[in-house]
């Protein structure tokens, strides 16, 4: 494979990894607080639809982007109510949220299938985009991609230097100890869920505002589940999530380019690659680090009134 193909491939990698990256970061925030939210797929779907809807109605992609985040928060608040208030099982509640969210987005979106809405398009960053190779790969994308570059350092700062971030981690590790230390466990978990949902909604918005400008049912196509897998791959670290998301995007972009350049491999087998790779990566990362990087109290509800 020569350079002419490699650079567009890497650029496509970054682009198709971005929606997954937002969602992965959202899930990391949620899981850090000890709450497992398997509803990412559903939340991305409602995020994608509300972004599309708002963009079509107002013509403002930025407003649509923020709206997707807010709707994402609304969607995950269902998970919060079920798990934090009503002590429902987190795994099953997440699955229900996926069903409900995808169903809702597809249902409400029916009249919009095949229509277009305004969105983001690529803006070359002045100066940076001139750097040979790197400019083309990293700095010739839509604004949502650039925004995603800033998130990992911000999140690192949040988790390691701010009171809320540190509290969130404490609650995820040991809710009882956190409570003894005077932290409000319920409130911090709510924050984790809601902020996480905001990012998942943004991930959905990337799909309908930047990746494509069309609406269709099941636009997310399983990317929410990939995000859940990448959280484990990333050991719950925002920085590593970037590489995870890009790796996934890269395999997706690669298999299509293999076909385009005439490789004689079955398309079904190539399309299997991203999912098979996720499993392989998961096996290696889990074997290497065991699972001690996970928040210790992940998925465990806190008894009310304790």
């Amino acid at each position: 494979m020569n350079f002419d193909i490699l650079i567009p491939l890497l650029a496509a990698t970054v682009l198709s990894g971005t929606p997954v990256l937002y969602a992965t970061l959202g899930e990391i925030i949620t899981e850090k607080s000890g709450v497992l939210n398997l509803g990412v797929e559903g939340v991305m779907m409602v995020g994608a639809f509300s972004a599309f809807f708002v963009a079509a109605a107002t013509g403002s992609p930025w407003l649509a982007f923020v709206a997707a985040g807010v709707v994402g928060m609304l969607a995950v608040s269902l998970h919060g109510v079920v798990c934090l208030w009503f002590q429902g099982n987190q795994v099953v509640s997440g699955l229900a949220l996926t069903l409900l969210g995808s169903g809702l987005a597809n249902y409400l979106g029916t009249p919009y299938v095949g229509t277009k809405a305004p969105g983001f398009s690529a803006v070359a960053l002045p100066g940076l985009s001139r750097i040979p190779a790197l400019g083309e790969i990293f700095f010739n994308h839509d604004p949502l991609v650039y925004l995603s570059y800033l998130l990992p350092p911000i999140l690192w700062f949040f988790f390691h230097r701010t009171g809320i971030g540190l509290g969130l981690r404490a609650v995820g590790e040991n809710p009882a100890a956190a409570r003894a230390a005077g932290l409000n466990v319920q409130r911090l978990r709510w924050i984790g869920i809601l902020v996480g949902g905001f990012f998942m909604g943004l991930g959905g918005a990337c799909l309908s505002l930047a990746y494509t400008h069309l609406w269709t049912s099941s636009l997310s196509g399983g990317r929410g589940w990939i995000a859940v897998a990448l959280v484990i791959f990333a050991f719950w670290r925002p920085g590593r999530a970037v590489f995870g998301a890009w790796l996934f995007g890269g395999v997706m972009a690669l298999q299509l380019r293999l076909q385009a350049s005439g490789a004689q491999v079955s398309s079904s087998l190539l399309l299997m690659l991203p999912y098979a790779l996720t499993v392989i990566v998961l096996v290696f990362s889990s074997a290497w680090r065991k699972s001690d990087a996970a928040p210790a109290a992940l998925g465990v509800n806190v008894e009310p009134g304790e």
């Binding site: 398997l38 559903g42 269902l78 109510v81 079920v82 208030w85 009503f86 002590q87 429902g88 099982n89 795994v91 099953v92 509640s93 699955l95 229900a96 949220l97 996926t98 069903l99 409900l100 969210g101 995808s102 169903g103 809702l104 597809n106 249902y107 029916t110 049912s217 399983g222 589940w225 859940v228 897998a229 484990i232 079955s266 079904s268 087998l269 399309l271 299997m272 999912y275 098979a276 996720t278 499993v279 998961l282 096996v283 889990s286 074997a287 065991k290 699972s291 008894e303 009310p304 009134g305």
Partner: protein, 355 residues
């Protein structure tokens, strides 16, 4: 007024539990009714059509039972794994592998009589589904990977594997090259119970497998160990129960049942392998298992109800032009409500100061 949540000291009465469930379902119906009217459909007419289409006639009931068969078997499998808190959400993939396993046999032995080919198809399907489940279980026990993700990724891989087979080696040369396998020989098809009904022998498979499973849990040592380990895995480990073995066994049974569902569906209703047979029964099965609180009898009821819902949604489409996705919304919201309602089964809410 301040409210306080207290753990129930006594178990909730049966009537109380029913009341909680019914109100949860009513609430979700209300919510989806609002959505219906937002879409321009009068909710009452909508629900009447839905009910009529799913349960309102002999045809509807037969259709719902037919659709419930694969859901029931998948859900039975899911419940076995969930009981041990092994989160197998790969029923869809295990179901696909079952269909693949059964098809392999049906295609390899087109001349065999029914009594030979059908049991072999079942065996092959159950093994294929079981192994598809076993791999994530082994990875979980040996490499500490998360079985939720691995089983889920295995669903996608199974879909493409099925596609690969019908586009490749198993593609029927007589169907103008479309992505389907050859139609099975009559011997490899599970027939209807009688000429008067479209319900096939798969229903009997469901009943027998359901009872066998019940007996297994109730009367065998391993069944007891699974129940014990499901209550408290660490305690079970201290008590000398081989938890690793149990996890693998449970998920193999789970996958085997989903595989069996794939066998019944591919043989009785589809008669050939085709990608379109994967319509999400494996995911519905999870909803069913949880609604039924993992109880086999409950699973039978819940899978019938959800199958009826799916069938009824088609009438809703035909008569009132409501999009098919309405079924997902209804399923999702019922599940969320019932989950939330679970609180009232274990806790009670009182005004502060009273106990």
């Amino acid at each position: 007024m301040q409210l306080q949540i207290l753990k129930r000291t006594r178990r909730i009465s049966f009537q109380g539990a029913v009341a909680v469930f019914v109100s949860a379902i009513l609430l979700s119906l209300f919510f989806s009714g609002v959505l219906l009217s937002l879409g321009g459909t009068p909710p009452l007419a909508g629900f009447t059509t839905l009910f009529q289409g799913g349960f309102g006639s002999r045809w509807a009931l037969e259709d719902s039972v037919l659709k419930a068969i694969p859901i029931f078997l998948c859900s039975l499998g899911v419940a076995v794994a969930f009981r041990l808190k092994v989160w197998n959400i790969g029923a869809e993939g295990q179901y696909a592998l079952g269909a693949i396993g059964a098809t392999g046999v049906a295609i390899a032995f087109p001349d065999w009589p029914s009594w030979a080919v059908l049991p072999l198809m079942a065996l092959s399907a159950a093994c294929a589904g079981g192994i598809w489940g076993l791999i994530p279980a082994l990875l979980r026990q040996k490499m500490h990977t998360n079985e939720i993700i691995v089983t889920l990724m295995f669903n996608y891989i199974a879909v493409y594997l099925l596609q690969y087979l019908v586009l490749g080696v198993w593609r029927d040369p007589n169907s103008h090259g479309f992505a389907v396998s050859a139609t099975f020989s009559d011997a490899a098809i599970i027939g209807p119970l009688s000429g008067a009904t479209s319900i096939h022998w798969g229903l009997v498979h469901c009943i027998v497998l359901g009872i066998l499973l019940l007996l297994f849990f109730r009367y065998t040592r391993i069944g007891y160990e699974i129940r014990a380990a499901g209550e408290n895995m660490n305690a079970a480990r201290y008590a000398g129960i081989r938890v690793d073995f149990l996890v693998c066994l449970v998920i193999a049974i789970s996958g085997g049942l989903a595989g069996w569902a794939g066998f019944v569906e591919v043989s009785a209703t589809v008669n050939q392998l085709q990608p379109a047979m994967l319509v999400g029964y494996g995911y519905t099965a999870i909803v069913v298992a949880w609604l039924a609180r993992l109880n086999p009898a409950g699973i039978a009821v819940a899978s019938f109800l959800l199958a009826g819902l799916r069938v009824g949604v088609e009438s809703l489409q035909l008569d009132l032009q409501v999009p098919a996705d309405f079924g997902d919304i209804l399923e999702g919201s019922i599940l969320l409500m019932v989950l939330a309602a679970g609180l009232f089964l274990e806790y009670r809410i009182v005004r502060k100061g009273r106990t």
